[in-house]
Amino acid sequence: MRNIYLIFRRDYLGYVKAWGFWLSLAAVPLFMLIGGAFAAFAAKSSPVRYYAVVESGSVYADAIDAEFARDEEDIGNQAREMAEGMELTDAQRDQLENSSVAPSRKFIRVPAPATAIDDLRPYLLGQQLVSGPLGDKPLFAVFIPSSDGASLEYWSDDVSVSALRWQAENAMRRLARQQALGEAGLDADFLETVDGGALKVPAHRIRTVANQTTTGSKVTMADKAPVYVSVGLAYFLWLMIFSIIQYLLMGTIEERSNKIFDTLLTSVKLEELLAGKLLAVFAVTSTMMVSWGLFALGTSLFATSQIPGGASLLSPFLSALANPAIIVPGLISFLLGYVMYGMIFMALGSLCDTIQEAQTLLSPMMILLMLPMFAIFIAFQDPGSPVIDIASWIPVFTPFLLILRMPHNPPMWEIIAQMLIMAVTAATILWLATKVYRAGAIHGAGIGDLGGVFKRLFSRKKG
């Protein structure tokens, strides 16, 4: 154990003392902060633009205004729905619903300064300004009915911004419906009234009688959190494996090119050397992931503290994470998956003399790693898919898919069998990779000798 610790310590300190490690560590939170700040700034700093509708009355203008009002109401409804999914007191719910103010409008209607497009041209080109609630500004867009009355023309100097035109299109569609209903002798709000009277289809979670008595049948975030947590764990494992490739490849190449193996192997056993190195890279990536996780948790806690009763948003996720039915198989899959992939990369790295040689290996490794990523995606969409059922028996996918299947309560025998297969595969890979590593590190075998290494291995076994 002491030798494993010493190898681990040297490798770990070697990695964390490098500038690249700190840059990587800082990069993710930094990009998250910059990205978040940028998005918030973009939303806040988005300019408020003036538009006008040229018409004798205000039918079109009112319809467009109503469309904006409807959007703002939808945002309020979404906040109410979210509040319903949270375990809040009535006071907190009221506070949440009242605080969910819709964002201020980015398009404000002003009276048209002229009626003909030629007269409006200087306003639309910014040569003349129009007055409005926010002071004098250029006219961003103007709607003018066509001479035949068949269309409402949209004129603007900046046609890349389409939000206003889409709102107008929706408004005109709704207006046409209302006119058709009126002509048919029906009330303008006939369709909304009909929709309002339709039967609701609320989701209920079937539970055991005992559970239903205490928990009820309403679908809450606590029902969905285990799925999100398992997806997070599977993705975390994938990300971890993805990020160790370079550490394991480059670290082993450095030792091979430094001709250091002989010195090491007269001080520690090969198995101790491998274990120490694997642990060091695990610790390096864990340090990164835990740091990022803590940052994400801190950010989430801060964000939820800004929402009344927001703490209840996180609690279902924390409960799911603490659930042994998810976390125990998750951890086992996690460790075995790490050992499987880690040993493959380390063994291949021991066969490379140069970074260029290692780079030729990176492409097939990326493809190998993209396959589980696709499987994770399919499993998230449809965990009951037969493809996922079958793929979860293939050891390279099992670590990811078993984690994803756990919230859906797969049969116990399947969990045990898949874990056993995974353990046997991990042990086999460990054995094979140790042989390959020995061939690379001690005998100087290269990638081209891989076939020969296996041939000798198995022919010796037969003999």
């Binding site: 030798n3 010493l6 001709k259 010195t263 090491l264 007269t266 001080s267």
Partner: protein
């Protein structure tokens, strides 16, 4: 006397069809300094790697301090591999400390020992310098210090002088002597015969995977026999002229004035006797030198000109001091 630090018993190692080491038997007694000589490819490094358990022999047995090579026994061994290598981003002190700890020293002792060795070897001011910032010779010195850090009972040095300038070769020779005086047993491989002549009690010569000589320096020189070199005008057959007087002469490849001949001296005869006989035989002598036996001559006599040439070609001019 304790158990011999190393015994190799009929050890053979093959790589495919190539036999790198063929039936090597060797014993390194406690307290000895043994030179392991031979040209590149003779099987020296493979033998040493088997001695350390880094590589397993195909047949035969190896024992270190009476046991098969294992990590516990290897704690008593310091090994300097032929292919030098250190972690380039580690400092000199951390490097020595790391390897000392791997050999069993506590963190505190390893650190103290690293500082002591660096100060002692003139590298004290480079304690916090990364290996990548050192010259090749200095880095090699650090690796040698790492090998000695845990005060091993048995030092195995594979081509320790390779890559060092004459001054550092001399420092290393002194270091080896100091380690020997401390009580360490030393086995070192080299293809520079002069180092072996100056340092060793005993030499083992390898050629093409086989041991061709194992004995003391005196044994080696006695095996060669004494001789003299006489150069005569071109075309004169000195062998025929000396044969009636009981001297055996052979053409020597030496370049110089006239034709060079090597005269083998029988016990009880000297170089002057051979010279006198040549004068009496009317030989047109242009040069004469009593032969001073060197290890390279022993090696030539044992393995022949072809293998010897390979050895001497591998020794860059000026490497030996």
């Amino acid at each position: 006397m304790g158990l011999p630090p190393l015994v190799m018993d009929h050890v053979t190692k093959r790589f495919g069809a190539f036999t790198a080491v063929n039936d090597l038997s060797l014993e390194v007694p406690e307290g000895a300094i043994i030179g392991f000589l031979g040209p590149n490819g003779a099987g020296k490094s493979t033998s040493l790697r088997m001695a350390l358990g880094v590589m397993q022999p195909d047949s035969g047995a190896v024992s270190l301090f009476g046991k098969p090579p294992e990590i516990a026994t290897l704690k008593r061994v310091g090994f300097l591999p032929e292919e030098r290598g250190l972690y380039k981003k580690m400092t000199t002190r951390a490097t020595i400390e790391h390897f000392a700890r791997l050999k069993g020293l506590s963190a505190r002792d390893a650190r103290a020992r690293a500082i002591e060795l660096l100060d002692m070897s003139g590298l004290g001011e480079f304690k916090a310098t990364r290996i990548s910032k050192l010259s090749k010779g200095m880095a090699q010195k650090v690796q040698i210090l790492s090998t000695l850090a845990h005060r091993p009972d048995f030092l195995i040095l594979d081509e320790p002088f390779s890559g060092l300038d004459p001054v550092n070769q001399q420092i290393l020779e002194d270091l080896i002597r100091a380690e020997h005086d401390r009580g360490a047993t030393i086995l070192f491989s080299t293809h520079v015969m002069e180092h072996a002549e100056r340092l060793c009690d005993r030499i083992v010569m390898m050629a093409r995977g086989r041991k061709v000589f194992d004995g003391t320096l005196d044994n080696a020189f006695n095996a060669l026999g004494q001789g003299a070199r006489i150069a005569v005008s071109e075309g004169f057959d000195l062998a025929a002229a000396l044969a009636p007087k009981g001297f055996e002469a052979q053409r020597a490849p030496d370049k110089g004035l006239g034709d060079a001949w090597r005269i083998s001296l029988r016990p009880g005869t000297g170089a002057q006797d051979a010279l006198r006989a040549a004068i009496e035989a009317g030989a047109p002598i242009v040069g004469f030198a009593p032969e001073e036996a060197r290890l390279r001559d022993v090696f030539v006599s044992l393995v022949g000109e072809a293998d010897a040439a390979a050895l001497f070609e591998a020794t860059p001019a000026g490497e030996a001091v």
